[in-house]
Symmetry: C2
Subunit: 258 residues, 2 copies
Amino acid sequence: MDFLEALSRPPLVLGIDPRPELHPIPPLAHIERYSFELMERLAPKLAAVKFQTAFFEALGPLGSQLFHRLLAGARVLGLPVIIDGKRGDIGSTAEAYARAYLEAYPGSALTVHPYLGPESLRPLLKAAQTHGGAIFVLLRTSNPEAEWIQEAQVEGEPLYLRLARWLAQEEARYLRGDWSAIGGVVGLNHPEAVWAVRAVLPRSPLLLPGLGAQGGHPLAGPGFLNTASRSLYYPGGVPHLERAEAQASAYLEALKAS
Amino acid sequence: MDFLEALSRPPLVLGIDPRPELHPIPPLAHIERYSFELMERLAPKLAAVKFQTAFFEALGPLGSQLFHRLLAGARVLGLPVIIDGKRGDIGSTAEAYARAYLEAYPGSALTVHPYLGPESLRPLLKAAQTHGGAIFVLLRTSNPEAEWIQEAQVEGEPLYLRLARWLAQEEARYLRGDWSAIGGVVGLNHPEAVWAVRAVLPRSPLLLPGLGAQGGHPLAGPGFLNTASRSLYYPGGVPHLERAEAQASAYLEALKAS
């Protein structure tokens, strides 16, 4: 599987951030069954499924086992996988992250932090390109307090756009077909930033979190991956297969109309 | 245990970044035994032990189990623990990381990325303060390519120093005794940056990686935690208890002389 096939699927990403307190006891068994059934049911409506590592890490070693089983399940269903780990390290440590998330699971994508310098992402980009995966670099995130650093003016432009320009120099090197293995993350509540990044990075997949939350409205466009987590995984605040399926259909309708 | 007790111990941190290819078969069993014996032997010479999560994540769920057993072992030995995960996320996800690394292991410290805005660190800072832990914010890292972003000039000063100034507004709020739960990370190969950060953040522990690598020389100072990973865990390129103990003594001598 090549992750970039996600770009020719419906433009909706299901985010899985499991919260044990919202599941019947024993919660881990229920999270596992619900996640499998939900992925199976929604698969034809999804570009990819995104796992938020923090919620699995908070469950300790059992969470790590659950995470690996769900990843394997997504692959069996033919669903492209995004690992939302927001990792970022250098040299041999970046290579260890590549082994953990891009080689052990070929064809998957990983979200990453740019604070160690864009050049530090190279081991991850190389691994993604070799193993059919992708890297989504945090550019302009949805949280209000991100402005302090991401919109800081550096040589006359906001830092996030300066980062996008650096990535643009590399975009062509990591092309596979129409799309590049270099992607970006921009919050749906900043549509102007989405278009600014798209202008700089024409062939990068853009992961757009915040659908149904934080004031994020559906935004259709080339390579846009609208992501809904809590509002799709817990529609109405609880796990519910039928409502989730209806919600996915509603999001896709809204994306067609946008 | 309170992590800040590390500041009244010898100023050396052992970094554990296990590489299976450097151990006899079966490597995980040997990594476990060697790490326990090394921590036990070096404990009187160490401020803390630092675990690099990437190398455990690269081992899959078995790595996660090993990581948890070694963390527990460090606590049994009375050794303060730093989890070098370089995490960074927002809202409920930051809280999940706090549960994973500051509450499940009270009195431990976590390294974090600042790219989502310093304000986004608040859930982690609160958890650290509540559970006797600490947060080390990446400021000026050792890798050459970090300059691109960390030394970017924002309103007339480098970004890393601007971040340190933001943290300085909060430093006093997270004091416990002489030290604050807000720490910073600065590479030992940038001594000028270490002193610049210390001038801004007088009561923050400073984690200084790169001893014996990347041109990092010992640097003694108030609250400085000099960190040696590969050069101490694999002295001469292989696991070796006696040589590691000699290396730790040599580092402490060099720190006294510096």
